[in-house]
Symmetry: C2
Subunit: 328 residues, 2 copies
DNA sequence: ATGAAAGCGCTAACAA
DNA sequence: TTGTTAGCGCTTTCAT
């Protein structure tokens, strides 16, 4: 069943178990000779330290959990990859948890895992603030794509990003923008709306909002119809690329030309944005770095007071493709 | 730091620790009255069983690991989601491991995790057979998108799938097919080639092979050029959708019309295949079910002898889109 | 039906 | 530098 233990190694190497333990965890505190012998014997026996026993005693599990709102959103790929890479460097294991857009599922999963992980990264969490605070009280937490005083966070700089979008559209002659909003319980949806308003005001253009829409491709049809129905706008800013792509498809069906009749912008720069027709202009950013930074923050979280939890805002970049053009 | 233990609960409920333990793990062996009291007290105290302590003793970790060859391949989304869903039903935790297309990374991660998980699902493993057998000797293993005698596996039925592809192309008048092969250490690449040959023979058409190519979009350019250079073929079958989309892009750049001049087929039916222009005809299948089945098999693996490890082959479906058409 | 007590594999005092 | 020993939180005989 399970392999050899330190007892086996200790017996074979003719030392005490504590020496074996030290040889692994504090190599400096054993003489080079014994250490080498212990390691040699351990290797020969195929000994592997049991993480559970270690965790039970030390309280450290060398495991962090990343909770994502919906794992089928391509946008998470790079995020996960970045987190995974950073975790591996520190020999941490990354636990991936899918909340399936359900706050209840998210909460339950977190509670279940809490005793077994060193901390949580909550990405685009759908949980209300007070729940986040509760969790942060038990375990170190890093928020991704969300901010809350008292909890560390990593986001792409949506304020600057929305400014980039609006200024791009304004420079193309657009004066009436329409934001196709994301879900009500999405912090990002609210924040983007606020940022768009500010940016629009500064740029001297108008922006309205419709929605909310679930950010999936199949919701794009409804969003496009609603946008057309609202009328007046020459540029549509969708909550994310998935929704934007759905909008693009529906507009094509209805014979509305993009970008001639209307321009469309998304968020996230997912792979498909580069592949659809026309290519989708979208606000991207280094999601890999977001994942990396989140783990980084989490691993160093213990040493910080609740008051000065860092808020990291990584730069965005507006990727111009065919879906935006000058007004005619 | 850590929460209340069974001792706290036992003290508060005025019972022995073993009673608390039983109340949770074997509800039938405690009187209803005490059980209710214990559970009530536990809930009040916010008691959560420590998974490590439990695992240490029982050897069961309630955790399974899914190793994927490259997590940025969209094709894995549904697979992961299916696995996650099935695992959650049994209150298992899904550990996601990214091998980054590197056999060395894959091997190291598996060895590191081996003592902490109940089993592995290896998806499109790049490891040689003997390594897989070694791993299977230590822990239950389910192969995904790969088969090996003595180890359980779940695959989409590529033999039938390749027959569907060839017969579709043949019915459109194609007589010369070209397979753009995947990586050399990909079992799927070899298997698909064999299945295509068989199917081609039966359909009375010819099929050749070029490659290998790393199955990424940016390799599609080289693949397309090589295909054009090889000449003669009227239909290209790419190792997967990523490669196929790259091919599509390169062909467009070079002024080769799809499907008028050449037809293109991919594998996996990733999201982007429905979004690119023209839409990509591709061999899809219920990847969610593959993920589900993999976990299912893994959780019931202990009870089976090495000889009769099941090989599950799930049905494929050829999704017709614009990238295939009749020869002119 | 319940309690007492012995570990699971490892680490961390404390001694030597 | 190395050994001894007492647990970490839980399950599981073995008694009662």
């Amino acid at each position: 069943m399970s392999g050899p233990t330190i007892y086996d190694v200790a017996a074979a190497a003719e030392v005490a178990t504590s020496t074996v333990s030290r040889a692994f965890s504090q190599p400096g505190r054993v003489s080079a000779a014994t250490r080498d012998r212990v390691l040699a014997v351990a290797a020969e026996l195929g000994y592997r330290p049991n993480p559970h026993a270690r965790a039970l005693l030390s309280g450290k599990h060398h495991t962090v959990a990343m909770v994502v709102s919906d794992i089928t959103n391509p946008h998470y790929f790079e995020l996960i990859r970045g987190a995974e890479m950073r975790a591996r460097v520190s020999e941490y294991t990354l636990l991936l948890v899918n909340a399936e857009e359900s706050p209840r599922v998210e909460w339950e999963q977190i509670q279940r895992l809490a005793p077994a992980v060193d901390g949580f990264m909550l990405s685009a969490s759908r949980l209300p603030d007070e729940n986040l605070l509760q969790i942060a009280a038990q375990r170190p937490v890093v928020l991704v794509s969300r901010e809350l005083p008292g909890i560390a966070s990593v986001v792409l700089d949506h304020v600057e990003g929305c400014r980039q979008i609006v200024s791009h559209l304004a420079s193309l002659g657009h004066r009436d923008l329409l934001y196709l909003a994301g879900p009500r319980n999405s912090w990002m949806a609210g924040t983007r709306w606020a940022a768009l308003q500010t940016a629009a005001e500064q740029a001297g253009v108008s922006v309205r909002r419709i929605g909310p829409f679930t950010p999936k491709v199949n919701q794009g049809g409804a969003a496009a119809d609603a946008a057309l129905n609202a009328g007046g706008a020459t540029a549509l800013v969708a909550h994310n690329d998935l929704l934007a792509i759905g909008v693009l498809q529906r507009l094509a069906t209805r014979g509305v030309r993009v970008p001639d009749d209307v321009s469309v912008v998304g968020f996230d720069d997912i792979f498909a944005a580069d592949v659809c027709t026309p290519g989708l202009t979208t606000l991207g950013g280094a999601h890999v770095d977001v994942g990396r930074a989140a783990v980084e923050l989490l691993l160093t979280a213990g040493s910080r007071a609740p008051e000065d939890q860092p808020r990291v805002a990584l730069p965005t970049e507006l990727v111009l493709r065919g879906s935006t053009g000058a007004t005619t």
